[in-house]
């Protein structure tokens, strides 16, 4: 899905004593954020007569979906791995007054990846989980445009099987908690609603051990990361058809980009399509 994604490794650590032309990774988030923000802002400004999509006081949704991702965990391998996976999430949204919206979700996923670079030997299995929370404020009571803060905590456990004949299995972990700005836009479409959400980390804490995971080796470390070393974008495009009573469906397309700048960087790009069953817990029908 993402041929050669994020494959140009940077020069890490001290420079070698021999001349090596430096390579630089393209920063995925900057153009992406710019493009999407422009798209959202244009849409928002063009939709001054947009139909306001009311949010119920409480809404709970269970999602299940399929994921496609590409990932470089340089602590494990210089190769980029990619492949399909599955994900599930429990999502809560609610309103506080006429302007504020809170959101929270807990998700988990499993991915089985194979190399996108070089020979096809070797595999990665990823077990990941995330907890997200957001606090958004509408620009006005009738506006579909919101700004706010979003926090994301994610943890990925990677089981990396090296190519045969070695076939050795090592385990790697990566965890990050980050807080950053978020924007969202929603509006009614017929009797349903469509929404776009974007968030990006500004500051956070990252746990990325220097090498593979072993109990009691004292290698775990947590460092504060700023936007200079922890870059990313989380985005969601969702469509909710008209609800039937308190129940309804939600279709969501999500993408996540992460670039953790380290001696041994972690970069990942994933997108998923999910279907959710939602239950309205209050408000007008």
């Amino acid at each position: 899905m993402y041929p050669n994604v994020l494959s140009d490794l940077p020069t890490w650590g001290r420079p070698p004593p021999f001349a090596v032309p430096p390579t630089y990774m393209k920063r995925p988030n900057a153009p992406l954020v710019a493009c999407l923000l422009v798209a959202v802002a244009r849409a928002a400004s063009a939709q001054s007569d947009a139909t306001f999509a009311p949010v119920p006081p409480h809404q709970l949704t269970i999602f299940a979906g399929a994921t496609q991702s590409a990932r470089l965990e340089a602590t494990a391998s210089p190769r980029t791995f990619g492949g399909p996976g599955i994900s599930a999430a429990l999502d809560y949204r609610g309103t506080m007054g006429s302007l504020w919206t809170v959101g929270a979700s807990v998700g988990a996923g499993y991915r089985r990846l194979s190399p996108l670079d070089g020979p096809k030997s070797g595999t990665q299995q990823l077990f990941d989980g995330d907890v997200r929370a957001s606090l958004m404020r509408r620009l006005s009571a009738r506006s579909g445009f919101s700004v706010g803060l979003a926090s994301t905590t994610n943890y990925t456990y990677t089981e990396h099987r090296y190519p045969e004949p070695t076939g050795r299995v090592s385990h790697f972990v990566f965890g990050a908690t980050a807080l950053g700005p978020a924007v969202a836009y929603s509006r009614s479409v017929g009797r349903g609603a469509v929404g776009v959400e974007l968030s990006s980390p500004m500051i956070g804490m990252v746990s990325h051990p220097y090498s593979d995971n072993r109990t009691g080796d004292g290698l775990s470390r947590i460092r504060v990361a700023t936007a200079a070393d922890l870059r990313g974008v989380n985005g969601t495009l969702r469509y909710a058809p008209p609800m039937k009573g308190d129940w309804g469906m939600v279709y969501a397309y999500r993408f996540n980009l992460l670039d953790y700048k380290d001696l041994q960087p972690v970069r990942s790009a994933s997108h998923s399509l999910s279907i959710g069953i939602t239950r309205r817990l209050g408000g007008e029908r």
Partner: protein, 334 residues
């Protein structure tokens, strides 16, 4: 209609940005890139640069032109192997696709040990028999003395064979555990087996891992411990037989047993392979292994290239007898 237009614009903008940002240049597998990646990863992770006084920069300078001049993968593998051999470390190797591991032959590996397991079972073990599995052999050397031979610690999950052996040996009061010519394997397994001989958790040494790009960047001293394992533990006098080919995880086993007051190490000094290996891979799928941590004895001395001295030193000879085992039998009969 406007909504559809909006969604389409957003999706297209997203996809366009993704396409531009995510599709980078193809991963480079030219020999220069492969060599540089290998050199850097060793530079970032290898644990014995300072201890072995290795100038890795200089070694890189020497071998890089040779790697660039290599006319085939096999020739390149040879250059990479020779570069890694400069580390003079039994835990360091490179395995090109298709096999054919290139590794350093340590000095201890060239020394004869005169150990012959078949001779032991023919001449000394009265009731020699294989265990329920295939990883160990055991029997009785005397009515009160059991003997367990562990040729390797490779693999996982077979420590229960030692439980079966201990149960089958019944009421012996002395035990000889033979790890001569045992080149190691999985240290967790070695410690699991050592746990069959301890009544409580004991610290037997320390380890430090590389924790940063500097050659002296290490974690602190982390305790290495052995804890009781298995349904029952043998806590009578134990005599552990070692020699110059007892290496790596086998040395973990010897150190763990040394921490037990009822254990005596008999034989020759061990190999001195004190590095803990990790596996990595190159972009072309070749794998390599290197020492990433250093193990220490209880007095915080490393035994890399030195080995662990036994409590009772006995040198093997080319003669037909087995002086190490005979000394252990004599000690056990006291």
């Amino acid at each position: 209609m406007k909504a559809v237009r909006f969604a389409t614009i957003a999706a297209l903008a997203s996809l366009a940005a993704c396409g531009d940002a995510l599709v980078g240049p193809a991963a480079s597998t030219d020999r220069g890139s492969l060599f540089d990646d290998l050199w850097r990863q060793v530079d970032l992770h290898y644990s014995f640069f300072t201890l072995k006084r290795i100038n890795w920069d200089s070694i890189g300078n020497v071998y890089r032109p040779q790697a660039l001049a290599a006319k085939s993968d096999a020739e390149f593998a040879g250059v990479a192997g020779r570069m890694l051999n400069e580390l003079k470390d039994a835990h360091v190797s490179i395995t090109p696709a298709g096999g054919g591991t290139i590794r350093y032959r340590a000095r201890f590996e060239l020394e004869p040990t005169f150990f012959d397991a078949r001779r032991v079972f023919q001449r000394y073990v009265a009731e020699g028999a294989p265990a329920a599995g295939t990883h160990i052999r055991f029997g009785k050397i005397a009515p009160s003395t059991g003997y367990i031979y562990i040729p390797s610690f490779l693999g996982t999950g077979w420590a229960g064979e030692v439980d079966a052996a201990l149960a089958a040996l019944g009421n012996v009061t002395r035990m000889i555990v033979d790890v001569r010519d045992n080149g190691g394997g999985t240290n967790a397994l070695a410690l699991d087996i050592a746990g069959r001989f301890t009544d409580r958790t004991r610290t037997f040494g320390y380890m430090r891992r590389r924790s940063g790009p500097g050659h002296d960047d290490f974690t602190g001293f982390n305790d290495q411990t052995v804890s009781p394992a298995g349904p029952a533990q043998f806590t009578g006098p134990v005599f552990v037989l070692s020699n110059r080919h007892s290496a790596s995880s086998s040395e973990d086993f010897v150190r763990a047993m040394s921490a037990m007051p009822h254990a005596t190490i008999v034989g020759d000094t061990t190999a001195g392979a004190a590095g803990g290996p990790i596996v990595r891979e190159l972009i072309n799928g070749w794998t390599y292994q290197l020492s990433e941590w250093i193990e220490y004895t209880l007095d915080r001395a490393t035994f890399e290239d030195v080995g662990l001295a036994p409590d009772v030193l006995v040198k093997a000879t080319a003669a037909d007898a087995d002086p190490i085992l005979e000394r252990a039998i004599a000690l056990a009969s006291r």
